[in-house]
Amino acid sequence: MLSWNKKLTFLAILSGALVLIAFALVLFYAPVEQNMGVVQKVFYFHVAAAWLGMLGFLVAAVCSVMYLSKGNPNLDAVAASSVEIGLLFTAIANFSGMIWARPAWNTWWTWDPRLTTMTIMAFTYIAYFLLRRGIDDPAKKARFGSIYLIIGFATVPLTFFSARLLRTIHPTIFGSAGTGDMAMTPAMYQTMGLSIFAFSVLFALLLIVRSRLRLNEQWLEEQEAMEQEEEFGEVVNG
């Protein structure tokens, strides 16, 4: 059996290699899209990042449900870390989208339902950290955070459902082919698949590392509290 640290190193090397390969495929293997040109290539990262943002929030919601039923504080640490990483990827998706939107739509930002709902969703999760910061008791912080992540996630599918009902100029990659959609060749699909896989491995790595860091932070805080108690005990009992 490999030790935890060795496994992590292995995972880190793997994800690094995968991201590099995905990068190479995007640059050299995937063909240039006819309508949009080279800038379309940002999509391989844009879609992967958007998907991982959603995955991060889903993982957080699942961990929250489990935390409330089991009460294991590690689950809360994973949930909070997952939200952080989800937010990071959502931000990547938003910025890479803007890079594409500038030449495609001739504007950095447009009040398209897809963009608007995505951004408001990000605000839901930024607010989550404000809520946590407002609570001192660690157990209460974890409980309230979990509750918020559950109702926060419940609105995500509804948001997407409602956004679809509004007219959008945002292309849909999978499923129906509308007017603004791209014609994807097999090479494009393969590149997209590998890109999503590479970023998913990176997501797993980040989640593990961040959760461990968070647990270590908590351990240190508890250690300090215990030492303070001990000091008081020594003073009282001589």
């Binding site: 504080p73 008791d137 660690p138 157990a139 908590q218 508890e222 250690q223 509290a225 215990m226 108690e229 008081f232 005990g233 009282v236 009992n237 001589g238």
Partner: protein
């Protein structure tokens, strides 16, 4: 309900243990006073016993039968008098009483409620809003409210704070009546002498561990003290 036993109550926040395996047994008609420093875990223990805070470990036996500390049935047998008054400031004393009696599904008549208020010396302010009450009046109303449900187990966190001399005398009389009716009372106090008049015994909670119960049995405070504070603690020296 003639006897309850709390066994192995433990509670920790993270790795910080607040209560370590606390046992306590009480008989009907008995009043015990819990002593301890700030931060010794008194309030935590009282909140666990009243079912508001869940313990990590520990069980409750009533007449040898196991009950859940978190069941509504147990909570409704208890009454809690804590630092905060639990009163609604915009309602009058009478309305507060009526509200809580309805929650306990006890339809007291207005005369009965007024009589209970009169017993705590609140006849003339029964229809005034609680926000206009003095601290002592609020504390007396809190006592009247807590006893509305005819509780079997009364939990009081520092009940003497905020009461003047007459208020304390009233409290002592009420406690004696409760004991006669067969209720069990668990209270905390910083000041053992004040509790001395009514209590049947003392227990000391120190660093999350219960000491032995020292029953009064007609002994004076000076005789009890060495058994409560066995070590040569700063508290023991000054008291």
């Amino acid at each position: 309900m003639t006897q309850i036993e709390l066994q192995g109550i433990s509670k920790s926040y993270g790795r910080l243990a607040v209560l370590k395996n606390c046992d306590l047994a009480m008989q009907s008609g008995q009043l015990l006073c819990l002593l301890g420093n700030n931060g010794a875990g008194k309030t935590t223990f009282l909140r666990i016993v009243s079912g508001l805070l869940s313990a990590d470990k520990g069980k409750l036996l009533i007449d040898g039968e196991e009950w859940s500390l978190k069941s509504p049935e147990w909570r409704r047998k208890c009454a809690l008098v804590a630092h905060k008054t639990f009163l609604y400031q915009n309602l009058s004393g009478l309305e507060n009483m009526r509200f809580f009696s309805r929650l306990y599904q006890r339809e007291f008549s207005e005369e009965e409620l007024r009589k209970r208020l009169a017993d705590t010396g609140l006849t003339r302010s029964a229809d005034k809003q609680v926000r206009l009450y003095s601290r002592g009046m609020q504390q007396r109303l809190t006592l009247a409210r807590a006893l509305l449900s005819d509780p079997d187990f009364v939990i009081m966190d520092e009940p003497f704070t905020g009461l003047d001399k007459d208020g304390s005398a009233l409290l002592v009389r009420m406690l004696a009546e409760l004991k006669q009716q067969g209720a069990m009372i668990l209270m905390t106090s910083h000041d053992p002498q004040a509790a001395f008049a009514v209590t049947d015994g003392f227990v000391r909670l120190s660093m999350g561990v219960f000491g032995k119960v020292s029953l009064v049995d007609g002994k004076g405070w000076n005789e009890l003290e060495p058994s409560l504070y066995p070590q040569n603690t700063p508290e023991g020296q000054t008291a």
